[in-house]
């Protein structure tokens, strides 16, 4: 069974050309412009978010900074950074990656990519309106749901455009088999509008009374992290790990079990914020954390067996982001369960452990998985070599360093803070003082993250420039449909395009010693591509 799955999954590399009607290049071509646009914009939001995060971190060194500026108070900047990260970067990049994955795995070209482009524009307008609204003082007081109420409808319209066309591609799928990643993507795409609409209506337009708001905000936040972003993150892991290690997924059944565990329990695990809510909520939520931990263990085991005896390849450049994302996900499952235990929860409640876990989820797992996906997709949709994307290594080490430092420092500081907070003989100013050292150290992490996100934006910006430099024809063909195959072909450069001829031999020389395996697969794929080109020319 697993071999046939592999065929569906690996279609991009090794599927025989005759099986599906549309060649891979044409698929990539069909989603090129909107996906690249989303990645580019996501990079911009990431830089903004990191910048605002750094500003707030600096505040712990200089608390009087910008005291005369009402738009930049600590709370507003915090909410802005969160919205820019979650809605501007993570969701946008996740949609881009997800669209490409849907197209690749369904083996259907994206119809009307222009509408998706418009949808992505609307999305950015929505996030911008929301983010500026927060600075102006219209934000909501809930973690991960800070958006002002007038921003959400714009986001929903944008989402309808993007996801609707993604759904069309999914429904028109050529491959009969549904791969694991497709389950997660499907769940994430159904889940997001549901929880966003529900939370907006119940928190903003027709607010429920009292602390039911807190329960709903917690439900939304965990759903967004675990099912929507987490689902897309896992889809990326389940797609990339078999592909990069060139082995079929170890067990589909295990993946299925983990999928349903996550779906039924992930949305409600870890709602611990508060002793004010009835205790059954945190009790039930804690119990669910253990199921999520089990699901994470299953995912980890499955992926570990998929990699098999090629564990050393985990540290190779193209694998690194995936490895960090997977390890973060496993840690998240484990720490989530540990944090839910009653003795620990009392210690960590209301401390910096909470932002540390959130950074682990949103940064370590989701952001790194998205980077992995983006760096996998970029060369394919642009028909360039992987080595042509700038400083991926620098980006990796900056991000990893920033994340490790931030999570470690916040986690340690949180534990210390918790330990001093439950001792009433220690005055609260001393409690804050004990956490302050760590909050100040975190500035270094913020700087690294900012540097990493700038490198990322430059990386994406540079390849985006390539697309624009291809002239109006390049952009136009990306928007109106997939007709121009030559532009998107991975190997076309060395054969037919004079413009990149100069680079091609050097590139081949660079790659040859290191990646002989990859080269052979490319050689095998080359005849197929030629065929595709011919077919396209005929039509």
């Amino acid at each position: 069974m697993s071999e046939s799955i592999n065929k569906g999954n690996e279609s991009g590399v090794s599927a025989p050309g005759g099986e599906f009607e549309i060649p891979v290049e044409e698929l990539d071509q069909s989603c090129r412009t909107p996906v690249l646009f989303m990645f580019y914009k996501a990079g911009g939001w990431l830089v903004l978010s990191a910048l605002f995060g750094l500003l707030n971190s600096v505040r712990f060194h200089a608390p009087d900074l910008l005291a005369h500026c009402p738009w930049l108070t600590y709370g507003r900047v915090e909410a802005f950074a969160s919205v820019a990260f979650v809605y501007g970067f993570a969701l946008q990049a996740a949609f881009g990656v997800a669209l490409w994955l849907v197209v690749r795995m369904s083996r259907t070209a994206l119809v009307k990519p222009g509408f998706i482009f418009v949808g992505a524009c609307f999305w950015n307008i929505g996030v911008a309106v929301g983010a500026v609204g927060i600075l102006a003082g219209d934000g909501a007081p809930h973690i991960l749901f800070e958006l002002p109420k007038y921003a959400v409808p714009i986001l929903l319209v944008a989402y309808a455009l993007m996801a609707g066309l993604g759904l069309v591609a999914f429904l028109k799928r050529q491959s009969k088999e549904l791969y694991v990643s497709q389950w997660f993507l499907f769940a994430a795409f159904l889940w997001f509008p549901w929880i966003l609409t529900a939370a907006t209506l119940l928190l903003q337009y027709f607010p429920v009374r009292g602390v039911a708001q807190v329960a709903i905000a917690g439900w939304y936040g965990t759903g967004l992290t675990m099912i929507v972003l987490g689902g897309i993150g896992l889809a990326i892991l389940f797609y990339l790990i078999p592909k990069l290690s060139e082995r079929p997924l170890h067990s589909r059944h295990m993946a299925l079990f983990a999928f349903w565990l996550l779906l039924f329990f992930g949305n409600s695990a870890g709602i611990l914020s508060g002793s004010t809510l009835p205790s059954w909520i945190s009790g039930l939520s804690a119990a669910m954390s253990f199921f999520v931990c089990l699901a994470a263990a299953l995912v980890g085991l499955n992926l570990y067996h998929t990699v098999g005896n090629r564990l050393s390849s985990l540290f190779e450049p193209e694998f690194r982001f995936v490895t960090v994302a997977t390890v973060s996900f496993l840690l998240l499952g484990l720490l989530g369960a540990v944090n839910a235990m009653s003795g620990v929860a009392e210690l960590t409640q209301f401390t910096l452990v909470l932002p540390a876990l959130q950074t682990l989820a949103l940064g370590g797992f989701i952001m790194m998985a998205l980077f992995a996906g983006i760096y996998h997709i970029l060369p394919r949709i642009l028909g360039i070599n992987e080595s042509q994307i700038g400083a991926v290594n620098l980006h990796f080490w900056l991000s990893l360093g920033g994340l490790a430092l931030t999570i470690g420092v916040l986690g340690l500081g949180g534990l210390l803070q918790g330990q001093t907070m439950i001792d009433p003989t220690i005055p609260f100013t001393a409690v804050t003082k004990s956490a302050l050292t760590f909050l100040r150290l975190e500035t270094v992490g913020s700087i690294l993250l900012l540097a990493g996100s700038v490198v990322f934006m430059v990386n994406v910006g540079k390849v985006a420039c390539r697309l624009v430099c291809c002239g109006p024809k390049g952009i136009l063909s990306g928007l109106t449909g997939a007709e121009n195959v030559e532009e998107g072909s991975e190997t076309a450069a060395s054969e037919s395009r004079p413009r990149t001829n100069a680079v091609a031999p050097k590139r081949a020389a660079n790659k040859a010693p290191k990646k002989s395996a990859k080269k052979t697969t490319k050689k095998a794929a080359a005849p197929k591509r030629k065929q595709a080109k011919k077919a396209a020319k005929k039509s």
Binding site: G223, L277, T429
Partner: protein, 298 residues
């Protein structure tokens, strides 16, 4: 799992179950709670905020104060003790009962002064049995409740906060991280509005190690021409000035915000979280002192 429809139905079921568990059930359980009105005193619980305090709540939300401050108090559990207000006339019986209950008292020695506290830190059952024994001997005694937990001992509240405390707020800002102290009972801890103005303008002037940012934009800065304004900020009898020596006058937004901060009082007795309020007023004991001391630190 190759059937798209089956997948869809499964996802729908998962969505419904999480909706049912964490949106629907909370809404049914406590989303429909209404403020209660005491028929005798005419007071409502929770007591409504003034208009100024309600505007201040919006300012609290706008500035995201909840990202550093919680408004919820935890407690670990309840302890009980027994307080004797009158030993009655049957000194012989009371003396023998008391000797059986209290280690510090030996039978036959003169009865201690009232109010006398004994059996501290016991559970409700034991406290009630003690009360019964004493009452049977003719003494007037009753069980007292006391709440334990670090938040309570810090003086951040006299009982844990419950859902019905927040019924009148359009947006509930419980917060989740305590970079600053909990504010659920700020109005009870420190009702000096001038302190709050100075603290908002320059936190480090009143709390030495504070990490709170300055909210100077909530204040007007005007040069002093002769005599300072009547509502210019003063602290310890001295005029508070900014870096350029100008006097500092709270704007309406600052006044509203402080009105909100002072309105934060979650100490009304509720059924689901009994508080030792009444007894404390009757017997100012060492508990009251511990409550007061951390409050002065911030």
């Amino acid at each position: 799992m190759n059937n798209g429809l089956l997948l869809f139905l499964g996802i729908l079921a998962a969505m419904m179950s999480s909706w049912f568990g964490f949106v629907h059930t909370p809404q049914v359980q406590f989303g429909n709670l209404l403020p209660e009105r005491d028929e005798i005193t005419g007071a409502t619980f929770p007591s409504p905020r003034s208009g100024s305090a309600n505007r201040g709540r919006a300012i609290y939300r706008e500035n995201g104060c909840a990202s550093c401050h919680t408004q919820q108090v935890r407690q670990e559990g309840y302890d009980f003790s027994v307080s004797v207000s009158d030993f009655g006339t049957n000194t012989v019986d009371v003396s023998s009962v008391l000797a059986g209950l209290s280690e510090s008292y030996t039978q036959g020695s003169p009865l201690p002064a009232v109010p006398y506290k004994l059996a501290e830190g016991v559970d409700l059952r034991e406290a009630e049995q003690t009360v019964k024994k004493l009452s049977n001997a003719g003494a007037a005694a009753r069980a007292l409740i006391s709440v334990s937990g670090s938040d309570i001992e810090r003086g951040w509240g006299i009982r844990r906060t419950v859902g019905s405390d927040y019924l009148l707020d359009a947006e509930v800002m419980l917060g989740s991280v305590r970079i600053g102290p909990d504010l659920a009972n700020l109005g009870n801890r420190n009702s000096d509005s001038n302190w709050h103005y100075v603290h908002l303008f320059q936190p480090r002037q009143v709390v030495e190690d504070s990490v709170m940012p300055s909210y100077a934009y909530l204040f007007d800065k005007r040069p002093v021409n002769g005599v300072p304004d009547a509502d210019a900020l003063r602290y310890d009898g001295e005029l508070v000035t900014d870096a350029e020596g100008r006097q500092v006058i709270p704007r309406n937004t600052a006044k509203d915000l402080v009105a909100y901060l002072l309105s934060l009082r979650l100490d009304e007795p509720v059924f689901e979280a009994p508080a030792p309020e009444q007894e404390k007023k009757a017997t100012p004991s060492e508990d009251a002192e511990t409550e007061a001391s951390p409050a002065s630190s911030e």
